[in-house]
């Protein structure tokens, strides 16, 4: 019992959770609007896309790399698929768009994977490069413009809801999108992958010590390659969900999200150096950032302060976890005893 308590107290996730509770209470006290049914559903809705991206970014960071190309990858995959479907006057169901986006996401992910697994170049540099290639192809070769009218199945998927929550006081309604289920399913699959497959343990092992991983018998190249393929698929699916949700394809809508997503992952206790972190932490980190972004409005704080407070949150959040590492590791105290 006390061992479990100790473990909880030491876990980074616990502190992120405390911060979330504090932020929620603060917003509730100031606005009285936080714990309303429609606000909670709005938060869940806003979690979907950053949450999926965060899962992908988390996988790469755990393997000891860093990926900044996923927004560009998602934009390119979704833009190409939407453009093709619109041009061919597609009237069918939602499955084909998903299948095409997944295929294209896998292909673009494989592009990342090929370079990162073959070249001894840091993945940050490689994905900075591929991010530019992806957005260059989208904006140049496909001469991307905003597509105002997306195929009906996609628009309909964006509108479909699991249930509708109503705020009894203001009468405002919010609907829980079906895509929230996708987040849940992806999180469950990735959890299983990381915890119960040798492939998943290989990702952690590579993040811990790459040469030890290859000596132990992991196929480091193959693991890395498939890792980027999976991340490409997750990112592309997130992109499609965003486009469906908006009811239009805005090619540059996702670009620039990478920093916020990586911040969420790190805030959730994932070591930027690789090897450690948990999905729970990632989800909590994303939730915290989404709450702060969404709830500034409830507090009546001008939106331009959002960037400022997000930045502050990231510095404080990662600073605390750095302090924890210093305290638990062989810090000054260990030297002086």
């Amino acid at each position: 019992m006390s061992a479990l308590f100790q473990k909880v107290i030491r876990a980074n996730e616990f502190y992120v959770f405390l911060v979330i509770v504090a932020v929620c209470l603060l917003i509730q006290v100031r606005s009285g609007q936080f714990f309303t049914a429609n606000n909670l559903v709005d938060l869940a809705n806003a979690m979907v896309v950053p949450g999926l991206f965060a899962i992908g970014a988390f996988l790469v960071i755990v393997s000891g790399g860093i990926d900044v190309s996923f927004p560009a990858l998602a934009s390119l995959a979704v833009y190409a698929v939407t453009r093709f479907l619109v041009d061919s006057h597609y009237e069918g169901g939602i499955l084909l768009p998903f299948a095409m986006v997944i295929g294209l996401g896998a292909l673009l992910g494989a592009f990342n994977g090929l370079f990162t697994s073959r070249l001894a170049v840091p993945s940050l540099i490689i994905t900075l490069g591929t991010a530019n290639v992806f957005s260059g192809v989208m904006q140049g070769a496909l001469s991307s413009v905003q597509i105002a009218k997306i195929p009906p199945a996609m628009a309909e998927f964006g509108r479909s809801s699991l249930f509708v929550a109503t705020n009894p006081v203001s009468g405002l309604t919010s609907s829980m999108p079906v895509s929230f289920l996708i987040l849940v399913v992806v999180a469950a699959i990735v959890f299983f992958l990381l915890r119960f497959t040798m492939f998943g343990r290989g990702i952690f092992a590579i993040g811990g010590d790459e040469s030890a991983a290859s000596r132990a018998g992991f196929n480091v190249r193959r693991t890395k390659f498939w890792l980027y393929v999976i991340v490409g698929v997750i990112a592309a699916v997130a992109g499609l969900i965003r486009t469906c949700g908006m009811g239009q394809m805005h090619p540059t809508n996702l670009l620039g999200m990478e920093m916020m997503v990586i911040a969420a992952v790190v805030l959730g206790g994932t070591a930027i150096t690789g090897g450690t972190g948990s999905l729970t932490g990632v989800m909590l980190g994303t939730l915290l950032i989404v709450i702060v972004q969404n709830s500034m409005i409830l507090l009546g704080i001008p939106t331009f302060w959002q960037q400022f407070s997000l930045g502050l949150l990231i510095i404080v959040g990662t600073g605390i976890s750095a302090l924890q590492i210093a305290r638990s590791g062989n810090g000054l105290r260990a030297v002086l005893r």
Partner: protein, 502 residues
């Protein structure tokens, strides 16, 4: 001949025209503890890689368990029972002990899914093989170096090893941990497992090795029994040079001390440390890890502030506010880990030398490149650093030459007192002698030198006085002329333990 676990016959290997190994022969019998000795760059690592299947030999064969291989893959080597325990142990610091122990076995049996109960069973079986008691759920990164090594050993045993190759296994261990390791090795021997022990420290391998193979410049120069070796012949085989084992003779000493400590105390690290050091002396400070020797060095060098007591440089009391103040006050410090604390490996040799005296090379607020180059060239010459060009990066040099740069770096400030912490840890025998030579010369020219080291022969041979530290106090002062290495070792580890506590 078939009773050999391993027989390397006539193996040669070259890389890009450089002959790393030529015509190496090596035989290891079941249950034999065989020592492979050689300086850094002698070809030891290449030979291990050939045996473990990482490199293919250009010529020759490797016979494992009676099967002759012309070339070998790592998987074949492991299947034949050859296991390597690397110097860094090749463990995953971010994973638990259990997972570290189980992963290899599971990968070898080509499992795709993780069964945590089976992981635990494998791990329990692995630690049971050497009676290693450890929390299986602890992260390996939080274990001590010795425990990490035990994790690596238990893991190696899981694959039915017949030969375990240990690459420099004693480097980061304390004496006590080395003894524990040796007990385990003897236990493995009793079970018929052969050990190939790779080392360049004679003192440590001598008591346990049954046969030695010494390689130099890629050739096996000797295979012999321990009776046929002593320190001098060992060194000769390793380096191809002959060194005198002479004790340091102190010259005439001026009466005023260069450095004096009076009841120096850092709470929690050491207390009531007093000594005085005159120019021309080499003072040894020795003690086990955790005895406070490193903290004392850091205090003398201004990195820690003393809580009580006094420090005097050339007779006047000083209170260093930090490392820069200590440098200005005439103290030089050569840190313990030459790679992480002492050198900018990517920068040029010249840059590394001048870094500590960069303030003196400034003309009108700008760095004077000509003076910098001249100063660097002077030191490269004075310290006999083997490089064609001081502009080459520091990591192009061998370990011993790197150590020379670190020395040059701190001598560049012309200190009155030079403190060296573990000056020859991980350094070749040849370079070690060279460094000792330099230190003696420096003392001869009137510098006061402090060697902090747990290398007993090092302090006995090179110091004119040795202070022994235990639990944060100086417990003995020893005259190396009358005390033998064995006596000092006994003082350090055991016998007088109880007295030390009072």
């Amino acid at each position: 001949m078939s009773e050999c676990v391993l027989a390397v016959r006539g193996v040669s290997k070259s890389f890009a025209g450089v002959q790393a190994l030529s015509d190496i022969n090596l035989e290891i019998r079941p249950g034999e503890i065989h020592c492979l000795a050689g300086e850094n760059g002698s070809g030891k690592s290449t030979l291990i890689k050939v045996i473990s299947g990482v490199h293919d030999p250009d010529e020759g064969t490797i016979e494992i368990g009676g099967v002759v291989h012309k070339r070998l893959t790592p998987v074949e080597a492991i299947a034949a029972g050859v296991q390597v325990i690397y110097q860094d142990f090749s463990v995953f610091p971010n994973l638990t002990v259990m997972e570290n122990l189980a992963l290899n076995t599971e990968l070898a049996s080509k499992r795709k899914l993780v069964n945590w109960r089976r992981f635990r069973r494998i791990a329990e079986e692995a630690v049971a093989k050497i009676d290693f008691s450890v929390d299986l759920d602890q992260l390996v990164g939080k274990l001590s170096v010795a425990d990490k090594q035990l994790v690596a050993i238990s893991r190696a045993l899981m694959s039915d090893a017949k030969l375990i190759i240990m690459d420099e296994p004693t480097t980061a261990l304390t004496k006590k941990e080395v003894d524990a390791l040796f007990r385990i090795i003897l236990d493995l021997k009793a079970r018929g497992i052969a050990i190939l022990f790779v080392s360049h420290k004679l003192e440590e391998v001598f008591e346990i090795s049954e046969r030695f193979t010494i390689i130099r410049n890629g050739r096996a120069v000797a295979t012999c029994l321990p009776e046929e070796l002593n320190r001098r012949t060992f060194t000769q085989y390793m380096t191809g040079r002959d060194f005198e084992d002479a004790h340091f003779q102190v010259g005439e000493l001026p009466p005023e001390p260069a450095l004096e400590a009076r009841a120096l105390t850092v709470t929690g690290a050491f207390s009531d440390v007093s000594f005085s050091l005159r120019p021309g002396e080499i003072l040894g400070i020795t003690g086990l890890l955790g005895s406070g020797r490193t903290e004392l060095a850091m205090t003398l060098f201004g990195a820690y502030r003393p809580d009580a007591g006094e420090l005097l440089v050339k007779g006047s009391p000083v209170r260093f506010s930090g490392i820069r103040a200590a440098i200005a006050g005439g103290i030089g410090y050569v840190p313990e880990d030459r790679l992480t604390e002492g050198l900018f490996l990517e920068r040029s040799i010249g840059d590394n030398i001048v870094i500590a005296q960069i303030d003196q090379l400034v003309t009108r607020g700008l760095l004077d490149r000509e003076r910098k180059t001249a100063s660097a060239a002077e030191w490269v010459r004075d310290l006999k650093i083997a490089t064609p060009d001081p502009e080459n990066a520091a990591n192009t040099l061998s370990g011993g030459n790197q150590q020379r740069i670190v020395l040059a770096k701190w001598l560049a400030t012309r200190p009155d007192v030079l403190i060296l912490n573990g000056p020859t840890v991980g350094v070749d025998i040849g370079s070690k002698h060279d460094i000792h030579e330099i230190l003696r010369e420096l003392a001869g020219s009137g510098m006061a030198v402090i060697i902090i080291s747990d290398d007993i022969p090092e302090v006995i041979q090179n110091c004119n006085r040795v202070l022994l530290m235990k639990a944060g106090r100086i417990t003995d002062e020893i005259d190396p002329g009358t005390v033998t290495e064995r006596q000092l070792a006994a003082l350090m580890t055991g016998e007088s333990d109880q007295e030390g506590k009072h």
